[in-house]
Amino acid sequence: MSYMDYVRTFKLPHSWCPGCGIGTIMQAMVRAFDALKWKREDIAFITGIGCSGRMSTYVNANTMHTTHGRPLAFATGVKLARPEKHVVVVSGDGDALAIGGNHFIHAARRNIDIKLIIINNSVYGMTGGQVSPTTPQMFRTQTTPYGNIEPNFDVVKLAIAAGATFVARESVTRPRNLAKLIERSFQHKGFSVVEAISNCHINLGRRNKLKDQITMLRWINDRIIPMNVAKRKDPEEIKDKIILGVFHEDKERKEYTELYEELIQRAGGKK
């Protein structure tokens, strides 16, 4: 087996723009599948709507392309029905944090064993470049022609506050680290969130002097800082930086489907 066995190669080339980070993130994810030797038949891979949503076509597993913002709700049904299976969700920043925000915080609150990867390119790419809950301040987008005033979510803080028991962030410019981080999140028992900072030069970049993938990846590289390096800096120096690493890991808290099995015993139900 190689990571390519988790790719529906007969569906390549995929439809993402040249230089888009989604393909890189997909590779990091399937490498994690391969590293853990997960059987394809045991994986449910569920996506929402948006550029990232198209990934369910290309991953060779039990896949589902659901509705905008709702993959976690579908995944909850799949996981509760078959708790012994691996359930993985990929969602964009708009998909997970805007329309899907309610399902994001509740899946985290439940600590249900679903592996979420949020591809955060800070824009609605599929629909032509509208503002998203993570679009930087004063950035121009199709719906913020006078500069974005929409305050941003801190995805990591939001996930931790809601109850996720593994929360981490990496960047598409460090795909090897991202693959390792995703692998680690897959091994965690409970709701895990990996935020992958990504680039959309076609929509977000083009309107903000970052018009190609090289320029935009350089811009991302200038903004990111690994956690261990950030620790040694004084806060003022890194206040605009995006810190990468594992922010939260709670191995004690019981996972939702485990609690449900106990509930069935209490109800005297036969398994």
């Binding site: 589902m64 659901t66 709700a73 036969k270």
Partner: protein, 374 residues
Amino acid sequence: MKKVVMPGNETVAHAAIAAGCRFYAGYPITPSSELAAEMSKLLPRVGGKFIQMEDEIASMAAAIGASVAGMKSMTATSGPGFSLKQEHIGLACMMEVPVVIVNVMRGGPSTGLPTHPAQGDVMQARWGTHGDHPIIVLAPAFPTEIYMETIRAFNLAERYRNPVILLLDEILAHTYEVVEVPEEDEITLEERKLPPSGLDRLDFYTYERHEGDPPLLPNFFQGYNFHFESLAHDEMGFPTTDPEKVAYLSHLREAKIEKHKEKIWKNESYLVEDAELVVFAYGSVARAAKEAIDRLRAEGEKVGLFRPITLWPFPDKPLKRAVGKKKVLVAEMNLGQMVYEVERVLRRDVATLLKADGTPISPVEFTEKLREEL
């Protein structure tokens, strides 16, 4: 058979368990909440799964997810929640996934009259979700019928791989009545047909599928790594915009219901043979109609009832057969919805008894109106 006194909401829950439902996702909403409460009690006892999701949209999604994972699943709601679930009902139609949705109708629109009955969602049950799509909608009226129609809802969903909507209203949901609960061996259950394992193919939306058949789709984790797609998709489930493929699969989805209408229809014709006036009514309204008809018949008036139990697909032929040229009066707890179907099918105007003030149409109101029309 054993007799049990219970309200409609509980009847549906017990029937669902008997039908093999092992997953329920719901959200509290009057007047359907008791159904969720009952499922939360019953499912764990049979090793089933219950979850109260964060909203109705999520509930519908979770129910579909569980079905794709191989379980018979159900969700229940009322008007406002029914509106929220529409997008995912459409998804279940597009992916051809079996799921049962119970809608306990209350006064609408908007928050309306949460604790009062109505029948104002019958067109929404047919056309609520956007785009052309096949749907089956059942409307039981009597306690034991609610039990049996719940089982039929699951069987139809599994047989045709399609969402099935079961309509109750606040009266049926909350009224304690005697339900004749059949023994296990008295009911026949259907399971979705699955493709054999080990085939070297993925085109399950057309594999061995003749016009009018449901697709032979695998469940998740059956070994096929199949793709369930909410976009228009091809025979393998992958997105396509090829007009021919889009039209072909859309046609197959419609045909699987259209071709079996006769088997899906279920109606009650009561004293129509010699009737001069036939009442068209469904759900709880039909029960008041029947009482009025009995009273008028006792006075020698020739009145009958045509009661559809399957609302959609609409029973056009059975209605024509039952009514012929006779005078018709359509009675509904709304400002006129099914009446348009009746007039379309009969190609003539009909009398109506419409009431949408949150109170049921009483037998007395019926007798007065019927006397006027006779």
